[in-house]
Amino acid sequence: MTARETILANIKANQPDLQPLPTQIRFQTMYPDLAKQFADTLAFVGGLAVFVDDYAAIDAYIQEHYAGVTGIATTLPELAHLADFDLDITDPHDLAHLNLAIIDGQLAVAENAAIWVDERQLPHRVLPMITQYLAIVVRQSTLVANMHDAYDRLTVNETGFGTFISGPSKTADIEQSLVIGAHGARGLTVFMLE
């Protein structure tokens, strides 16, 4: 017998009688203000929400806060003029010197500040992790309250890879002291577009 056959035969012999799946697996969460809840939670996990009316406001914010920074890339045509790095590369290792990536978010979750991005937003899977700083543009209309609502809206296998990103990368592995910027981005700014 192959390992597969052995394992499956042992499982079949040992698994208990079929138990039903629960009927209640979705719960509703009511927040008075989804955008505020998202912004507060994002602050709690080390990120920063910036409320903006249009791309011009994002443009102005980046010009002000990332003045003189090189190695900027974006997938957003509206912000293309800010970029000095072309994402049309074949080897993702070339992204190693990226300082700021500005990408689009597909959906945002108020309860945990998670933003879903998949290969429709990511020309390279490693882009939101390898960049030193990350900015994500989220339309406030895509906010949902909790993870049940998020999975209801999403098709997780629409592309080969997708991820929820909640805040900048972090670790507390040295004496429980929180350090922002473990291996992924050192900072996350989320532009909350009206």
Binding site: N14, Q19, P22, N112, V156, I174, A182, G184
Partner: protein, 458 residues
């Protein structure tokens, strides 16, 4: 298996020699537990969520055969290569083969308790593969030649000065440096170099979705993603119990996991893998290693519901005061103590006794495993199977004899009271484990029975 150097009580005794450090360890873990409580209190339906998760997992255990077959077919259709391994040896050999076939001699890993359970690092190192753990805590203990002491916080037993010394030795950081920011930055630079140069990366699996043939990997550091997206080959190792039926079930589990683990609302990255990138490969290894045997034990199969959040470790009064290494098992703490005897009863016979049976573990478990009840049941099994410690077996047998005979019981009581009164040294010495860290009670002058008999009769 090697003979144990120290069992849990003896290793705990060593750990407890530095009282200040034990207090610090205890308080640090309790701090994580309180963060968990605050995160949980934000979810009014928390108990219903736990119940939903528990029932989903009950269904999974009862339907594993079909779910795994569905999952496999869809994963293959997605372009993922699926492998099966009955035990640790097969798992390790398979992974070595995949690395070799990729023409690589180096591997970068993110956290996987399964590979700890299988002792993969030792195996690969012996076979000439250079393995680097990329989770910061795991990298720290790897440099020190230690196993992780906690499944979520691998270096929780170390102080920042210990980490500073380790990094000074291995990464050339300044001698005496203890600033976590500085030390983390040094590790970031070192591991970035690693991520950029490895062709093969290994991750664990938090959840595998039968409905879509994909799997989810959760990290805070982004190390799993950095490793696999920059490599040509992604190997994912999973115990077969990681399967869940549908995507919508992730809504339940991802709400529970990080809140239970560290008190975060969700991990920084929850990455869903369905297809390899063009020109690259994903190899998924489905591992049994004793799990199907545990599935066949009705009293203990529930342990397979575990999602490895470590809430039971953080809350456990024994874990907090004895340290993860005292458990001499890949998974320490209460959950480890009910998983380990299934792997090796003789080697791990001490672990179900490393508990006060207070039940706090079961109360915080996000999938409602009856951990403390299983600890109690393992004790019965281990004593019946003859794996009990000799001293305990003899003591229990003597006690049974005494308690069975009223005459012997009265005699023993009289001797005990007399001893404590007239020759306390016989009880108050280092040979009596009850006397260690305790005062013996003041002996009463007479037993309740004697007192009762002497009462005036109505």
């Amino acid at each position: 298996m090697n003979q144990l150097a120290l069992d849990h009580p003896d290793a705990s005794t060593v750990f407890n020699k530095d009282e200040a450090r034990v207090d610090w360890h205890d308080e640090t873990l309790w701090f994580v537990r309180t963060k968990r409580d605050r995160a949980v209190q934000q979810i009014p339906e928390w108990e219903q969520l736990r119940e939903a998760a528990s029932q989903i997992k009950n269904h999974v255990l009862s339907n594993l055969h079909d779910l795994l077959i569905d999952f496999e077919a869809r994963a293959i259709a997605n372009g993922i290569t699926v492998h099966w391994a009955t035990d640790a040896a097969e798992h390790n050999a398979l992974i070595h083969r995949i690395i070799t076939e990729a023409g690589a001699t180096q591997l970068v890993k993110s956290k996987s308790m399964l590979t700890e359970e299988c002792h993969l690092n030792e195996y690969l190192t012996q076979n000439g593969i250079d393995v680097i753990d990329s989770d910061l805590g795991e990298r720290i203990v790897q440099m020190r030649g230690e196993p992780p002491s906690h499944i979520v916080l691998p270096a929780i037993h170390l102080k920042k000065s210990d980490v500073g010394d380790t990094f000074h030795k291995h990464l050339g950081t300044e001698k005496g440096a203890t600033d976590p920011q500085y030390l983390t930055e040094a590790a970031r630079q070192h591991l970035r170099e690693t991520f950029l140069s490895r062709k093969v990366a290994l991750t664990g699996v938090n959840f595998a979705i039968a409905e879509t043939g994909g799997f989810v990997v959760c990290t805070n550091e982004g190390n799993a993603d950095m490793g696999v997206h920059l490599a040509d080959v992604h190997i994912a190792s999973m115990g077969f119990e990681k399967i869940i039926p549908r995507t919508e079930h992730l809504g339940v589990f991802l709400r529970l996991l990080a809140r239970s683990a560290t008190g975060q609302p969700i991990t920084t990255f929850s990455s869903h893998f369905h297809k390899p990138q063009p020109g690259k490969q994903i190899h998924l290894v489905i591992v049994d290693n004793g799990r199907s045997r545990q599935l066949g034990r009705p009293d203990f199969r529930n342990s397979l519901k575990c999602i490895r959040c470590a809430a039971c470790l953080n809350t456990c009064p024994v874990y907090r005061r004895s340290g993860g290494h005292s458990y001499h098992s890949a998974i320490a703490g209460p959950i480890g103590s009910i998983l380990a005897p299934n792997l090796d009863m003789r080697q791990n016979a001490d672990l179900p006794f490393a508990s006060t049976l207070c039940g706090s573990c079961s109360n915080v478990c996000p999938v409602k495993i009856d951990i403390h009840e299983q600890l109690y049941k393992w004790r019965q099994v281990l004593m019946q199977e003859g794996y009990g410690p000799t001293a305990k077996t003899v003591a229990m047998r003597t006690m049974a004899t005494v308690l069975e005979s009223p005459r012997l019981y009265r005699l023993a009581g009289r001797v005990g009271r007399g001893t404590l009164r007239f020759a306390p040294v016989l009880a108050e010495n280092s040979l009596n484990p009850w006397y260690q860290q305790r005062e013996m009670p003041a002996p009463p002058a007479q037993s309740f029975r004697d007192w009762y008999i002497n009462q005036p009769k109505p």
